[in-house]
């Protein structure tokens, strides 16, 4: 069972996301973006190209400057979001990415270069990124800790 | 095994088409049209993303449809058999091509506005008949 977060876990989610053609319609579709993911001191890069998430890899924090934007939350909030997705099949109304972004003091989507054009890709491809994390409901996931919901 | 043409045959194809995601993915439509096989006349009603009904009609019923497709029974049979051997109608067997290839054409209508519905939905109609590929048929 893959552990969140890990390349193995992101690969499993990518397989589920990439294989579901429904993710290409209804506001999904091609999305070219490098998306960073920060979970404590672990940093990952997701490469979205065309209709798919093509690759997940571990990167250095300094490499975030090469991403279009990155998503960073308190580790407990990451886990809470993913549990919510697993319970509902998709994120419910309180756990969509945009809601998490606006409804938190620090925000969720950030830019390492302060380039709003690249950060705006979070909005441009919002449904695709949402479909991606929603696809994690198909992936049995292990977490490295237990959390108390906020 | 349903006989072509019969209500049973068209109903079987209708069920197969409605269950095909590619059929629905071609988009919504709203038309009714006739299929004339020799003296036999069948009316098909399409609405939204489905073929909603098939019914037998008489010659007068042709006045109530947007258009109808007419071929001799042997031509229809050969057309269906082609789909069944090929899986789908190939480039020479699309209705538009058949209409232009056949002397006198196969598309008929008494109303130019309603005739135009064939062109609006021809890919959906084509996909409907492609669904016959999986329907065991006798003639």
């Amino acid at each position: 069972m893959p552990v969140f977060p890990s390349v193995e876990w992101f690969d499993a989610v990518s397989r589920s996301f990439n294989s579901d053609e429904a993710n290409r319609t209804a506001g999904g579709g091609i999305a070219d973006a490098g998306v960073g993911i920060i979970f404590e001191d672990q940093v990952f890069l997701l490469n979205f190209a065309g209709y798919e998430c093509e690759k997940a890899s571990v990167i250095q924090r300094s490499d975030l400057e090469n991403t279009d934007f990155y998503l960073e939350m308190h580790p407990d909030d990451w886990i809470e979001m993913l549990i919510n997705i697993q319970q509902n099949g998709t994120a419910d109304m309180n756990y969509t990415l945009n809601t998490l972004d606006l409804d938190s003091e620090d925000g969720l989507a950030k830019s390492a270069t302060d380039d709003q054009y690249r950060l705006d890709k979070f909005f441009r491809f919002n449904q695709t990124i949402q479909f991606f994390f929603d696809a994690s409901s198909d992936v049995e996931t292990e977490f490295d800790r237990e959390i108390t919901p906020a | 095994m349903p006989v072509f043409p019969s209500i049973e045959w068209f109903d079987t194809v209708r069920t197969a088409a409605n269950e095909t995601p590619e059929f629905r993915a071609l988009g919504s439509n709203e038309t009714n049209f006739g299929v004339k096989v020799g003296d036999q006349l069948i009316r098909l009603d399409f609405y939204a993303f489905e073929c909603v009904s098939v019914a037998e009609i008489d010659e007068d019923g042709l006045l109530d449809v947007d258009f109808y497709l007419e071929m001799e029974p042997e031509r229809w049979q050969s057309f269906i058999q082609h789909i069944q051997s090929n899986g789908v109608a190939d480039a020479q067997h699309t209705f538009n091509t058949l209409d232009l290839n056949e002397p006198g054409g196969i598309l008929r209508s008494h109303d130019p506005y309603r005739r135009n519905n064939f062109f609006r939905y021809h890919l959906t109609i084509q996909k409907f008949f492609d669904s016959a590929a999986a329907v065991e048929t006798t003639y």
């Binding site: 960073e72 606006l102 906020a150 | 071609l26 538009n96």
Partner: protein, 365 residues
Amino acid sequence: MAESEEKQPTKTTPPPRRRRNLKIDHDVEVPEPGYAWMPRTLEWGVRVKPGAKGMTMQGLNVGIYGEIPDRWDEQTRMPRGAYPMAGIPPIGFALREKREVWADNAADLYEEAIQRRWIPASDIPWNTLEPLPDDVEAAMCQLCTELSQAANVEFETIGYWLQHMSYGYHEVKLFLASNMFDAGRHHEAFRKRALANGGGLGIESKGEINRMILESKGGWSETSLLLHLLRGLFIQTIYRYGERFAHNPAEKVMFARALQDKARHTAYGLQHLRYAVTHKQDKALVFQQLLNIGERVFARELQEPVVLEPLAVIFGGGIEGAKAGMREVHHMMGDFVRSYLASTDWIGVHRGRAFPKGLSRYLEA
């Protein structure tokens, strides 16, 4: 120092805190709300449910919201049925009569356009293109040049008119936006075909018909007559024959898809033009006059070889077959003229003896 440490970004952010609600300033002074807008509605209690086609624009036309006035005097963008506010400066819409734009099928055609959309980049199997003989490729490229330019004229024309149509008839504005979108797709698809198989673009059109459509500024109905009926049906007929004579699945799909779009535009044109004729006494006469000229311009430009000759080469499978191909072109023109005359009759404009020889000669084909 390790490389990763050296590459640390200069900008550091504090570690994220546990999520909590948006940070708000509780000391801010909140002005008393007026709520003047709260009771302002002309009709309340509407509950439209989605049907088999989902929630459609046509489905919204209930109660007062479904009352479509013959004239819309509002000179701003106020949505039909919204609670009006006094003192809004006008924008100035030229088309405010229902008969100038309306077609009963506009809302449904708009939804249909969305449901039946396609994507030239990925829905056309471009990898099925195979090299063609130079003469056939050149003819195909010339045809695509002409079709792409005609689509360009179509969206330029609608782009001009869209801003002049009042918001009382938003269904028509929405449909025409989809018509522009379709035309853009045709412009794109035919350009792509010309540049995808070892050829290139051909020569531009002389532009007689283009000019006639683009310079039609007297009224939208008159423009629609030329754009949707005269030129539109011609292009639609070419698409039909394009599907029939496609050399590969890519061309087959391209023409088949474009044909559906074009038939939608025709459906609007026919309904609108009939509406215009039946709601204005002399409109049929105006259309007669315009077509007397327009058909002759059309027939004259057909003498230019850039459309019918390439079609003859395509239909004939090459220049050597162009003679046989030209016979097919005559069939095509016969189909066009018959559908055109049936359509003019349908809208209430009977061409009769005024129809030019340059076109009627194809009726024998």
